[in-house]
């Protein structure tokens, strides 16, 4: 895959559509799933263009084969003085799940984080009921750092929020081997 950026119109169409796949959204976010129109998303994306944030990097994920927009990966919430950032990823197109696209995107974004932004560490959190993602992050080099117990309540069941982190020095060592 390759990382890119699309126009607000394109982004809005995809993000609005992906939301309707509730499995996708419930794997992604603790917020209750809500549906928004293409128009609402577009307004949001256009507003972000105006904002010029220094702390947030949103990329779209495109397949190399046919340049299809299949998801997004975000690096943000950066505490610059501490060199800490957060990463979040979502593959909206479910035919691409379990095929390595996510792990690939994560590797590229970690490279960006450690060799362009020069961060010290990257954090993420993932739900315990998302083992596919947890495996993908482990493959990308993230270490387990703990769990917020019973954070999520869905379908009448409670699950943990799993927190993982990777240090720049760990990532660099990985690249050498």
């Amino acid at each position: 895959m390759h990382l890119g950026m699309d126009n607000p119109e394109e982004l809005a169409k995809c993000f609005s559509g992906w939301r309707r796949d509730t499995e996708y959204y419930r794997l992604l976010d603790t917020d209750p799933v809500r549906l928004f129109s293409v128009k609402a998303f577009q307004k949001d994306f256009e507003a972000n263009l105006e904002k010029k944030s220094y702390d947030d990097y949103l990329f779209t994920i495109h397949t190399l084969k046919d340049d299809r927009l299949i998801g997004f990966i975000w690096l943000g919430g950066i505490d610059w003085n501490h060199g800490n950032g957060w990463v979040g990823i979502g593959l909206g197109e479910r035919e691409y799940w379990g095929k390595g696209y996510g792990t690939d995107a994560m590797r590229v974004v970690l490279g960006f984080a450690f060799t362009e932004l020069n961060l010290h560490r990257v954090s993420l959190n993932v739900f315990a009921y998302n083992p596919r993602a947890i495996r993908s992050y482990e493959k990308a080099g993230f270490q387990h750092e703990g769990r917020l117990r019973k954070l999520i309540c869905r379908d009448g069941q409670r699950t943990d929020d799993v927190w993982m982190g990777i240090l720049g020095e760990e990532w660099f060592k990985q690249q050498e081997s």
Partner: protein
């Protein structure tokens, strides 16, 4: 660990209300020697009223890219001037620093050097920057000496960049790296 992050031996860094700042800046702006030492641009004078509105606007949009402090003396809590870290390139860990002491009776007494020491400690132990750069004019030898004392190294000159009173002057650039910095009384990075 933190006792004196904002405090030096002669001065402390703080923040005053926009009204207080604006009055002081407007008054200092009438001292053309102060302005010419600090800024290369052609001097214009602004009212306290408009300066206050700029300050308030700046506070609203504070996005953590600039760190502006005012300088007070420890002895009498007198507002002397300002010092600011700005233009921060976080991914490279670089920042610019600018300082101005508006109260001329305080020139040449070590207040500027002390304030610079405090701000460098802030830059290297709170913002964790890698280097700090500053620009200073050839016709400001007092400031150049102060910066040398604070540990800045000469890195370059923009030759004959300024034209003032019919003469050409160089603009100097100086920088200090975190590894070179020997901060505070202890003389080492804690």
């Amino acid at each position: 660990m933190t006792a004196s992050l904002f405090q030096g031996e002669l001065v402390r860094l703080t923040m005053d209300n926009p009204e207080t700042l604006a009055k002081a800046f407007s008054r200092w702006g009438r001292d053309s020697e102060y302005i010419r030492l600090m800024d290369g641009g052609a001097e214009r004078m602004f009212s306290a009223k408009i300066i206050q509105s700029w300050i308030e606007k700046d506070f609203e949009k504070d996005v953590g890219q600039d760190f502006f402090f005012v300088i007070h003396t420890l002895e009498s809590d007198h507002l002397l001037g300002f010092v600011s870290l700005f233009g921060i390139d976080w991914n490279h860990g670089n920042s610019w620093v600018g300082i101005g002491l508006g109260e001329r009776e305080c020139w040449g007494k070590g207040y500027g050097t002390d304030a610079m020491q405090v701000v460098l400690r802030y830059a290297f132990t709170e913002l964790n920057l890698h280097r700090v750069t500053l620009g200073v004019f050839e016709y400001n030898p007092r400031a150049i000496r102060s910066y040398e004392k604070a540990g800045f190294v000469h890195e370059g000159r923009v030759r004959k960049e300024l034209l003032k009173d019919g003469q050409r002057w160089d603009a100097l650039e100086m920088g200090i790296l975190r590894d070179e910095w020997r901060g505070g009384e202890k003389g080492r990075l804690i």
